[in-house]
């Protein structure tokens, strides 16, 4: 069965991250229709679609949700697919409830099995995979992780339509406090040192930085260090709702191993954990675990490495 597929993203820069899945589910024949915002480079992102509905305005999630529903119904679409972000996932959930549809959040992979698709996604904090069978006849919504599926280029000539009627929002934007960015691309680093709540003061993070400098690594962090304490910029926060990394070596220092953090490091080649709590769950995910006070062990480790370099 082929039919129209809606690809949605409130941010057009990432809309093509959902393209591979959309194109595959369209069985290469259905129309791909985008609903997204527009910026100066948008034309480039839109080349892969048959039709594009755009707005240049900044919209709230509830406004996107009603526009998405309108396009979905008008186009009699079977699938709605979005790159996974907090807001995109909410907006698709809202539509799914209105239309009585199932939805798969953050679908890592999919395969055909007769009249079904089997989708997989991470569960139990990255330790498990859930497999979900959905009939091909069923209308569904999907979000897919960024930078996971292959890039494709369909080179179409889309019909671009600007949305003129924007529904009102029931909630009001009252400000945005931007977080400083480190500028470090933690996703591309071969060695990452993750710091967590085991550090007592912001100044103490230099112990991790010194180790990072000695082994050519970069420092990242668990959620509380960025979101709660503000000790490091948000772009260094490693976890399922932020950066997912797969370095050759990940060293978790003073990190307990909350599911939301562990999901972001599962694909690291080698994981080292340093924690004074022997029962910290991070040790379950570690190749090498050191049960020790980070304040004693980190300087020892850094010193040893420097000695060996001489």
């Amino acid at each position: 069965m082929t039919s129209n597929i809606i690809v949605f993203s409130e941010d057009s820069k990432i809309i093509n991250d959902a393209l591979h899945v959309a194109y595959s589910l369209s069985e290469k024949t259905g129309n791909l229709i985008a609903l997204t915002n527009s910026d100066e480079n948008a034309e480039e992102y839109f080349r892969n679609f048959d039709e594009v509905y755009v707005t240049k305005k900044d919209l709230m999630p509830d406004q996107w949700a009603s526009l998405l529903r309108k396009v979905f119904l008008e186009k009699n679409a079977n699938y709605v697919i979005a790159p996974h972000t907090v807001n995109n996932n909410d907006i698709l959930s809202f539509l799914s409830a209105k239309e009585g549809m199932h939805m798969v959040s953050n679908a890592l992979s999919f395969q055909e099995k007769g009249d079904y698709y089997v989708f997989s996604r991470q569960v139990i904090g990255g330790r498990g995979i859930s497999y979900i069978e959905i009939s091909k006849n069923e209308k569904i919504a999907l979000t897919v992780p960024l930078k996971v599926y292959p890039k494709i280029n369909l080179n179409k000539s889309p019909l671009v339509k600007e949305i003129t009627e924007i529904p009102n929002s029931k909630i009001n934007f009252a400000g945005f406090e931007e977080r400083k960015r480190s500028g470090v691309n933690i996703e591309n680093a071969d060695i990452v040192i993750g710091v967590g709540r085991g550090f007592k003061n912001k100044e103490d993070l230099k112990l991790a930085q010194e180790l990072a400098d000695a082994i050519n690594g970069v420092v990242g962090c668990s959620r509380p260090i960025a979101a709660d304490y503000g000790w490091l910029p948000n772009d260094l926060w490693i976890g399922i709702s932020s950066k997912i990394i797969k370095p050759k070596l990940y060293i978790a220092v003073g990190i307990s191993g909350a599911p939301q953090h562990v999901s972001g490091i599962m694909d690291s080649k080698v994981i080292v954990a340093i924690n004074k709590d022997k029962n910290a769950s991070i040790f379950k995910y570690a190749d090498y675990g050191v049960v020790a006070d980070l304040y004693q062990f980190l300087p020892t480790l850094t010193k040893k490495i420097k000695e060996m370099k001489k």
């Binding site: 996604r121 497999y131 772009d235 480790l301």
Partner: protein, 265 residues
């Protein structure tokens, strides 16, 4: 007065998962626990009630069956919410909901909510710790036809306005909105309390109301999905160093990392 419904998930206890030899997670034999961030939602509800008065109820759907094996564990968790200060607990228990999807869970929650009347706030955690689909807040808002605000790390109530600070990857977005609202909270919003012994004893006299499928109005055209969970076949070496000889440990660790080809000195 602010009346609050807390939507709490009875999750699999991630520390006590029963894993079969083929890697499948045996959910029927795995014990339960209240989902991590839902504890923060409960705490926030109790704090708002302490300031402004009102009622706090808790709703949950047992999505890990079978009911005959899990009922006691689920009731224990609902009693814990009562001990913390919730006024009434409402629990949906029916084998229909065993391993169900957010579609069915949200319909069950909404159906119970309709019986109970209107609330000002519907609070829940940002996502569940076992399945983490993060669909429930927006789905409930959609069914109730009210707005949703997710990933809230701070709620600020000023005179007639309520401000919500949303923790997003690139910064904090501040939203002002009027109830009724569905709000999901992050783990940073507060530090959940523990119940006192007196509260634990008192919780036995508080109402815990149970519902089965026939008590609810649930209509869906979508079929129930077949789904299962497996533990990822990621094998870690789990070599653990303990003791006071830190220099030796450091040397051994470095040697191992060099041998693995992940460290160059």
């Amino acid at each position: 007065m602010v009346n609050i419904a807390v939507l709490a998930k009875i999750s699999l206890n991630l520390n006590l998962l029963k894993i079969e030899s083929n890697g499948k997670i045996n959910t029927a034999e795995s014990p339960l626990a209240i989902s991590e961030y839902d504890k923060n939602a409960l705490e926030e509800a109790l704090r708002i009630r302490e300031k402004f008065g009102g009622k706090v109820i808790c709703i949950s759907v047992l999505t890990w069956g079978p009911v005959n094996k899990k009922l006691q564990d689920a009731e224990r968790i609902m009693r814990e919410t009562l001990a913390l200060g919730v006024d009434e607990a409402h629990l949906v228990v029916d084998d229909y909901f065993d391993s169900c999807s957010p579609l069915e869970t949200s319909l069950a929650i909404a159906s119970v909510l309709r019986k109970l009347g209107n609330f000002d706030l519907y609070l829940c955690g940002e996502s569940s710790m076992d399945v983490s689909s993060a669909q429930i807040p927006a789905r409930i808002a959609s069914i109730l036809d009210i707005p949703f605000i997710t990933y809230v790390a701070k709620i600020r109530i000023e005179e007639n306005k309520i401000f919500f600070h949303r923790e997003l990857p690139n910064g904090v977005q501040i939203i002002e909105a009027q109830p009724p609202l569905v709000v999901s909270v992050t783990g940073e919003i507060n530090q959940p309390r523990l119940p006192t012994l007196k509260q634990i004893l008192q919780s036995k006299n508080k109402p815990l109301i149970k519902y089965t499928l026939k008590d609810l109005q649930i209509e869906t055209k979508a079929g129930k999905l077949n789904q299962w969970m497996e533990v990822r076949p990621v094998i870690r070496k789990n070599i653990i160093y303990e003791g006071s000889k830190l220099e030796e440990i450091a040397q051994d660790l470095i040697n191992n990392l060099i041998q693995e080809g992940v460290l160059k000195i």
